[in-house]
């Protein structure tokens, strides 16, 4: 049997097993899901070993210069300590390694959120008000109006997630009236945004379903003599 034919048959069977979920949760779907998780875990383990651990940890320790060996010693010790996380009794020995990972991860996330999202989105929000870039009066007005709607939408969406309120004696805790009005506007923008995102996901999922049905059709044509 041709190797490519066998691989196509594997893909065909796995597609059918996975699509069987349309009929409800069943043993065939579970079989495909467990196989998928096992294969993915094996693939990720191989990639981590060959692409990260061997070139960045093992090779410098064995073949590197004395300076490289010294530099590789710290992550090697941290990695060894991390292995203690597998044992419930010795798990605390892995805490320094986890602390190192959490500390560096938090710093990278804070840096990324500030320079990537915060500055980028604020720049995007004020860009429509840079009128020197625009042309005629009508275009300027349109640009300003669009920028204003975007700004109101952004601020009201942020205000919607502001849940703190002052408690008054013998009264129900409520947000101030201005915040409530802005939050109402925010709800409208959030509903529109989530609807648009939902439509995007639905369209992508539909495209994938059509592609799979097309694959099944092509595969059946291949199998037939």
């Amino acid at each position: 049997m041709d190797v490519d034919f066998a691989w196509t048959a594997v893909a065909f069977i796995l597609t059918l097993l996975t699509l069987s979920y349309i009929l409800g949760d069943n043993p065939l779907f579970r079989l495909a899901a467990y196989l998928f998780v096992g294969v993915s875990a094996g693939y990720v383990a191989v990639i981590l070993l060959f692409e990260v651990i061997v070139p960045r940890l093992v090779s410098p320790l064995i073949f590197g210069s004395p300076a490289e060996k010294m530099l590789a010693l710290v992550p090697a010790v941290l990695s060894l300590l991390l292995l203690f996380k597998l044992s419930p009794r010795l798990t605390t020995l892995g805490n320094p390694s986890m602390a190192f990972l959490v500390g560096s991860g938090a710093a990278v996330i804070v840096g990324g959120a500030v320079s990537g999202t915060l500055f980028g989105q604020i720049r995007g929000a004020i860009q429509p008000f840079a009128l020197s870039q625009s042309g005629s009066g009508l275009q300027t007005g349109g640009q300003l109006f669009g920028g204003l709607i975007l700004l109101i939408g952004t601020i009201s969406t942020l205000v919607y997630f502001q849940f703190s309120a002052r408690r008054k004696a013998n009264q129900q805790t409520r947000r101030p009236a201005v915040i409530q009005v802005a939050a109402f506007g925010g709800q409208i923008f959030i509903a529109i945004t989530l609807g648009a995102l939902y439509a995007g996901v639905l369209a992508a999922a539909l495209t994938a379903l059509i592609e799979r049905f097309d694959f099944l059709r092509t595969a059946i044509q291949t199998f037939l003599p």
């Binding site: 594997v10 604020i122 945004t193």
Partner: protein
């Protein structure tokens, strides 16, 4: 104070990386680079430990007397076969790459396809249970953007008013998405800073 050594490591590492990114102090830059280069192999080891933990959980489920899960044998066998093939062939081998193109991709694409049915079913059930004005607005927005994404209205883009109207409609979700993104960024910064000042210690378990 709970876990003082771990807390000191987390604060020192985090602050050195963060200050190296924002302050123009020459000595901080190589320190930041060294710390980040250490993080990558340690994170990879953490990933391998997570996989080992997954395997041990399924090994226990397979050997459990009360609730034995026979599907776990397929997961363990699939892992063993893939891992052995990867070790023998190497990750760049075209035959090993067929695991991605003929096993992972078909299952992932099919799961995405199944999402069409489950999402539609879930949205119908949600609409049946919650019939407020927000549900109506959400549904209207979904239908409108499905029509826009289908490209059905592209034919009327030559008419000036329709073109401007469609452009205005497309900008509406940007406002909400920008607000949500800014909220996520502010939340991430708060959580990150709480770790960097030692108020939260998710590593001292």
């Amino acid at each position: 104070m709970r876990a003082p050594i771990s807390t000191a490591i987390a604060i020192a590492t985090g602050l050195l990386i963060l200050l190296g990114a924002f302050l123009p102090i020459p000595v901080l830059l190589p320190i930041r680079q060294i710390l980040l280069s250490w993080t990558i192999p340690v994170a990879a080891t953490a990933g391998l430990i997570a996989i080992l933990n997954l395997l041990s959980v399924h090994w226990r489920k397979l050997n459990s007397a009360r609730e034995r899960d026979y599907y776990s044998i397929f997961l363990l066998l699939a892992f063993a076969a893939t891992f052995a093939a990867g070790l023998i062939l190497g990750p760049t081998d075209p035959d090993f790459q067929k695991i991605v193109t003929h096993i992972q991709f078909p299952v992932e694409a099919s799961l995405m396809g199944v999402l069409t049915v489950t999402l539609t079913y879930a949205s119908i059930r949600l609409f049946q249970r919650k019939r407020g004005w927000l549900a109506v607005l959400f549904t209207a927005s979904t239908i409108l953007f499905l029509i826009l994404l289908s490209g059905f209205l592209n034919i009327s883009e030559n008419i000036p008013f329709v073109k401007d109207f469609l452009a205005a409609l497309n900008t509406l979700p940007i406002a909400g998405a920008r607000g949500i993104l800014l909220g996520i960024a502010l939340g991430s910064i708060t959580t990150g800073l709480r770790i960097l000042i030692g108020a939260d210690r998710p590593y001292s378990g």
